[in-house]
């Protein structure tokens, strides 16, 4: 049985010009021990779909789905209280901007221990021990001293490591990483991706990587969902996606990679969709 299974998920936002559908009928499932990548441009609804699962969307959003089960629990019928117990403990999320997702007013140690206090009901001593252990796991040198650092005293890469430590603090079954390396340098990006994948393998978590970077997909994913304007364009395992992409949109994305440039010009998604829309009837 899949760890997370969603059928026909739609998310709409109320706007002054009527309802805007950010996600339109997406099916999605992740198994434990699997890395699923969701790829798409900004506005493709890839983050919104995951925020809907976490219950982190604003009130203006309406979420509908035929079913949404996580680890055997029905997420649609669950009470808010029950959901809060699960979210953050069994499902954890990492965001794009590490500097913005940590609270600048509290030390790293406080923010890390907060999760342990809320979800695991640990006492102060155990919390501290566990916090040091977690910082070690994510590769932060001198964790004892780092516990009393504030986010602004650390680099972007280190902040992202702290975010990962917070996310894995309660041994989640599913980790959702929303563009975890977009704000980071290539060398740091490599380290963070390696860290995520090694933690995923070590603890047998399910990992959902949300990204717009095909390079990140190629380096981490087992299976890939390509999303465009709220719809699923293609779902395939990573090798067949890169070897023989089925949907014209995937082909367009791949050919927009600078390393795949032929001649002087990069092909853009817009040209591609224009050429292929007529043939395949893809939404424009």
């Amino acid at each position: 049985m899949a760890l997370l299974e969603i059928k026909n998920l739609s998310v709409g936002f109320d706007t002054s010009t009527g309802q805007f559908m950010a996600v339109q009928g997406i099916d999605l499932s992740v198994d434990a021990r699997e890395v699923l990548a969701i790829v798409g441009e900004s506005g493709s609804g890839k983050s919104v779909a995951m925020l809907a699962v976490m219950g982190l969307l604003p009130k203006s959003a309406t979420v509908t789905a035929d079913s949404m089960t996580f680890d055997g629990h029905d997420m649609l019928k669950m009470t808010t209280k029950r959901k809060r117990e699960i979210v953050g403990r069994d499902v954890a999320m990492i965001f794009q901007e590490p500097m913005a997702s940590l609270n600048p007013c509290f030390t790293v140690g406080f923010q890390l221990e907060e999760v342990l206090r809320f979800h695991m009901k640990m006492d102060a001593k155990t919390r501290r021990r566990r916090a040091i252990e977690l910082l070690q796991q994510v590769g932060i040198p001198t964790p004892e001293e780092r516990l009393s650092s504030y986010p602004h005293q650390m680099s972007g890469g280190q902040c992202q490591r702290v975010m990962i430590a917070i996310a894995i603090a309660c041994n989640p079954k599913l980790l959702i990483a929303d563009e975890p390396t977009t704000a980071l340098d290539v060398t740091i990006q490599k380290q963070i991706l390696d860290l995520l994948v090694s933690l995923q393998a070590k603890y047998g978590m399910g990992l959902i990587m949300i990204t717009h970077d095909m390079g990140v997909v190629a380096e981490t994913a087992d299976r890939v969902i390509v999303q465009y304007k709220g719809r699923k364009m293609e779902e395939a395992d990573v090798l067949s996606l890169f070897e023989s992409p089925k949907s014209p949109y995937t082909r367009a994305l791949l050919s927009a990679l600078p390393e795949n440039a032929t001649g002087d010009r990069l092909s853009t998604v817009a040209d591609f969709m224009k050429n292929e829309a007529a043939i395949s009837g893809a939404p424009s």
């Binding site: 441009e41 900004s42 972007g156 340098d185 290539v186 060398t187 740091i188 990006q189 490599k190 991706l193 393998a201 717009h212 970077d213 095909m214 390079g215 990140v216 997909v217 190629a218 380096e219 990573v238 090798l239 890169f242 070897e243 367009a252 994305l253 791949l254 927009a256 990679l257 600078p258 390393e259 440039a261 002087d264 010009r265 990069l266 092909s267 853009t268 998604v269 817009a270």
Partner: protein
């Protein structure tokens, strides 16, 4: 065509930090003696991680910050803004485009004013002339005259970067410094902006200094590549030299860290994973 537009000779930049009641001032050398030459119509890419001094160098080239020592020659003319006033003629030669198109446009300024301002400050053109030139430029960067009276928040990231490019080109500069111009953009929008930059380079015979940390973009756009590490140039050569035969260990680290999306490397990764499992 070997006209040299830009030349740096042993450029150094120091920053002074601290120096309060509590501690002694420190001097940080952000750029440690950088030399290079750049021909007209070519693109020099400066590569390195954050904090390596690449943006500091970009600011010196754009006459925003003065160099601490060393010589900077633009069109063969030595210039040091610590000593001389920057004339509007010099300003016209060099322009810069920044990374974040959300931060580099004034939210309360209409696009028409954004584009007209460089002309207002540096030339004696009339309002009507400025308006016509701004309209023309909007079309050149792939926007339309109907965008003239809109505000920055009404545009997407890619469109804003086009506006920033249009603003930089208003004074018909010969040298354009691009400080991570596409790293805030999505893949497909990135492709559009890179295409636009290539077209404009052909049309106006522009010289680019392209600052980036993304090697796949650099490989696509650059003629020459300079790799910086902690303020020093560790590798400098033509694109093909640097990419086919990197000499310095840092350059090799950079290449190794760049995600590979070819089928072979995916196969290799999956095979490795199977062994581990």
């Amino acid at each position: 065509m070997t006209e040299i537009v830009l030349e740096g000779r042993n450029i150094v930049r120091d920053y002074h930090v601290g120096g309060s009641f509590f501690g002694k001032a420190k001097t940080v050398r952000a750029v440690k003696g950088v030399s290079f030459t750049l021909e007209k119509g070519k693109t020099l890419a400066i590569v390195g991680e954050s904090g390596c001094g690449k943006s500091t160098l970009g600011r010196i080239l754009t006459l925003i910050d003065p160099q601490t020592s060393g010589e900077l020659l633009i069109d063969g003319k030595a210039i040091n803004i610590a000593k001389d006033r920057v004339t509007s003629e010099m300003r016209r030669k060099v322009q810069i485009i920044f990374q974040n198109p959300y931060g580099s446009l004034n939210p309360r300024q209409k696009i028409g004013e954004v584009l007209g301002e460089p002309l207002l400050l540096n030339t004696k053109k009339t309002a009507a002339q400025r308006r016509d030139l701004a309209m023309e430029m909007l079309v050149k960067v792939g926007l339309g005259p109907e965008h003239y009276n809109r505000y920055p928040h009404m545009f997407s990231g890619g469109q804003r970067q086009r506006i920033a490019i249009a603003r930089a080109l208003m004074l018909s500069p010969s040298l354009l410094v691009l400080d991570e111009p596409v790293s805030a953009l999505d893949l497909s929008v990135q492709a559009q902006v890179l295409n636009l930059l290539a077209d404009l380079q052909d049309e106006f015979n522009l010289t680019y200094v392209f600052i980036s940390h993304d090697l796949s973009v650099v490989r696509y756009i650059a003629d020459e590549v300079m790799v910086m590490y902690y303020g020093e140039v560790v590798e400098y050569g033509t694109r093909d030299e640097v990419f086919s035969n990197p000499q310095h260990s840092y350059t090799k680290t950079l290449f190794a860290a760049t995600p590979k999306s070819d089928v072979e490397s995916i196969k290799a990764r999956l095979a490795k994973k199977k062994v581990a499992a």
